[in-house]
Symmetry: C2
Subunit: 424 residues, 2 copies
């Protein structure tokens, strides 16, 4: 007979957990037979003692089996999923899903809400008047068939063990463990039933993975897990040493995404969107497709409008705007040489773009606009950041989180390429 | 502001916890603000990453402050406390407390109930008809003043943080950690308010600490914690490679203790009782006292009878006897060369002497009698163990736990001294 104490003790003492032990503990935890305090002790033991690839594969498989798997066979076209590991101002999903879908490839994006300084894709889309993120499985399949792109809330029936464990890890300082992160992401993604998965693993100060080597290990682990389950899985390691684009906040990021879909937008957002689209299209066998062209000629924008309309949103409605703004200005002449992405995320969160506790509402218009980003020239007194909020008493705390977190230097800094490495 | 996540993360990452962090986390856990799943993650991080002496001292002090400290100033004589770290068939408290008390030294023994294969002192005493283990603080002080010896249940008001954490560690495989064991024992003992503490740290297969070096580290850690709080603390490392005495079980152990108090009893039990009594008497300044004499001349027995009577028990009542017995016999001629103490503990537990879950009753008469112990000669067919129970369907499981756990050899084995080392 397997008991929770035996499983915890094995991992605590540096032993490998057997497939039976892992199957049992995940199932018993899902059913509530293994208590939260037992699972958190086990999670800490995994955090500190690690897990071998076979254990990670078993853990992932057990979490997939804890719930249902979406059946996308009725979609009638190749389905390619994408996942970005947490980062600040990650609005890539918004232009990327319609961009890939306009080539006849289905893109299901089952997303979450934000917590803390990393915004949630659903919060961003809900700043569009009328947009509905809660869809049934039937509606998801129908929309993938008809429009090609869906961005909606993940149902609790997919990998419920992960859902429970994810919330537990958040309160017990057991988040930043590669075995636990990889199995969490891949159990959800594999349960979503796509033919291929493209992973956007962010690296740098604004990302979950600060370090290139850790990010690469995480990417390799996830690519292997996908392959184990017969899903074509690829990963791009992408730069998040400075914020992506010029905005952090819900409606602010939707507006920036619309610029990209209209053929403009910040160069780094465009570059990353096109690179990820290319990888997703290649995974669907569409190596011929040219995503840059589809941004330029309006096809991606057409699919975006169809997606928004299909989910009840008004594509032509004005986006919410915060009631108040305040500028943060430069003290000296020179060039912006660094902006800390994490600090920008915290500032946006403090302004009301994020939540401190699950279930709380967010401000649609709040956030940070980066008026001068890395490489650009400023003069003393020029506004560098514009803070947006409905609650101006938060300006001070937001400005404080930016203080000392950006630099002006005498020489222009040049940003490197967005894609640092590629694994398939 | 200190948060649970920050404290867990610090220890997880191998940092030392500050005094403020420790004070906060123990207080917040006691109040229920830090959740069980957070404390178990922290306990696992301490288990795997350890703690320095300063952290252990702070942790102990915080647990003492979580509740009340007994005020023994009204007792009017030196008070010396004793604690044995868990082991099988540890009946030493029963003869020891009255033996020391008969020299005018007060011995408060606030004890617990058994769980699993280690029996609880309270369960043993409750096999005496009428014996009451639930005393108020006033009664404890009065009995220490008048009789000198008290063995009763620890009140929940002493170190409540430890009480909560102890139950949590039991279900989360975070028991066998020296910082957590040492702080648990010493917080309770220091809160009991004695002038001196003698620790009986058991080593060997039947003990919690299997390894001499670990046992010594635990003893050193506890002696230092006592000294930090101004309590004269000494430790004896004592042998538990084979069971102590000839019995494991509640009334069976009381009967064996009565033999010791009557001047007889197994040599190892007598040796350990006298050695510990000598150490406790020395801590009370009574280096002149001769405990062996007090066993021989009946003074210790008189104090035992006074103690039992003071707590409502009938010193002359017949002790409960199990309804059924079954003997386990030797297959070959020779000498008993080994008996695994842990196996004897498990057998007694399976026979009904212990409980599988807190709150369940135990059988007063159940247990194991060791008819032939290490060093004694046997012939094939001789009974070696006598199993006692009210529920004979358990004989098979109990016999199974003994199978292969004791050996007969061609040469008589000799047991070494009971006290392996001494620390003060």
């Amino acid at each position: 007979m397997i008991t929770a104490i035996d499983v915890i003790r094995s991992k605590r003492d540096g032993l490998e957990l057997s497939t039976d032990q892992i199957d049992w503990v995940i199932d018993a935890y899902t059913r509530g037979e293994v208590a939260d305090e037992q699972m958190s002790a086990l999670a800490m033991a995994i955090f500190l003692n690690g897990a071998v690839p076979r254990e990670i594969a078993d853990w992932t498989a057990a979490m997939i089996r804890s719930g249902i798997t979406l059946d996308l066979s009725g979609v009638g076209k190749p389905c390619v999923d994408k996942h970005s590991t947490g980062g600040v101002g990650d609005k890539i999903t918004l232009p990327l899903a319609p961009l890939v879908a306009c080539f006849g490839v289905a893109v299901p994006q089952l997303s979450g809400r934000g917590l803390g300084h990393t915004g949630g894709t659903l919060d961003k889309l809900e700043s569009i008047p009328g947009f509905d993120v809660d869809l049934t499985e039937e509606r998801v399949v129908a929309q993938l068939r008809e429009v090609g792109a869906v961005v909606c809330a993940a149902t609790g029936d997919l990998a419920p063990a992960d859902k429970k464990l994810y919330a537990l890890r958040d309160t017990t300082a057991t988040v930043e463990s590669i075995p636990l992160i990889a199995s969490s992401i891949m159990s959800k993604k594999i349960a979503e039933g796509a033919d291929a998965i493209v992973l956007d693993v962010k690296v740098g100060s604004g990302a979950f993975m600060k370090d290139f080597a850790d990010a690469k290990t995480l990417a390799e682990t996830m690519v292997r897990l996908g392959a184990d389950h017969g899903v074509d899985t690829r990963a791009l390691l992408t730069d998040m040493s400075i914020p992506l684009g010029r905005t952090a906040g819900n409606a602010l990021e939707v507006r920036e995404s619309l610029e990209v879909l209209a053929g403009g937008g910040p160069a780094d957002v465009v570059e990353l969107t096109v690179e990820l689209a290319r990888e997703m299209l290649a995974a669907a066998g569409r190596t011929d497709a040219d995503p840059a062209e589809a941004l330029a000629d309006g096809r991606a924008m057409d699919t975006w409008r169809s997606m928004v309309a299909a989910q009840g949103g008004w594509p032509d409605a004005a986006l919410p705007v915060a009631r108040e703004t305040m500028d943060v200005t430069a003290d000296t002449d020179g060039y912006v040489v660094d902006v800390d992405a994490y600090a920008v995320g915290v500032a946006a969160w403090r302004l009301g773009a994020g939540r401190t506790r699950q279930g709380l509402p967010v401000q649609a218009g709040a956030g940070v606009e980066i008026l001068k980003t890395v490489g650009e020239q400023v003069r003393a007194g020029d506004p560098v950041f514009r803070l947006h909020t409905d609650t101006p008493d938060r300006f001070e705390a937001a400005a404080e989180s930016l203080a000392g977190q950006w630099q002006v230097g005498p020489e222009p800094a040049k940003r490197g390429p967005m894609v640092l490495d590629r694994l398939a």
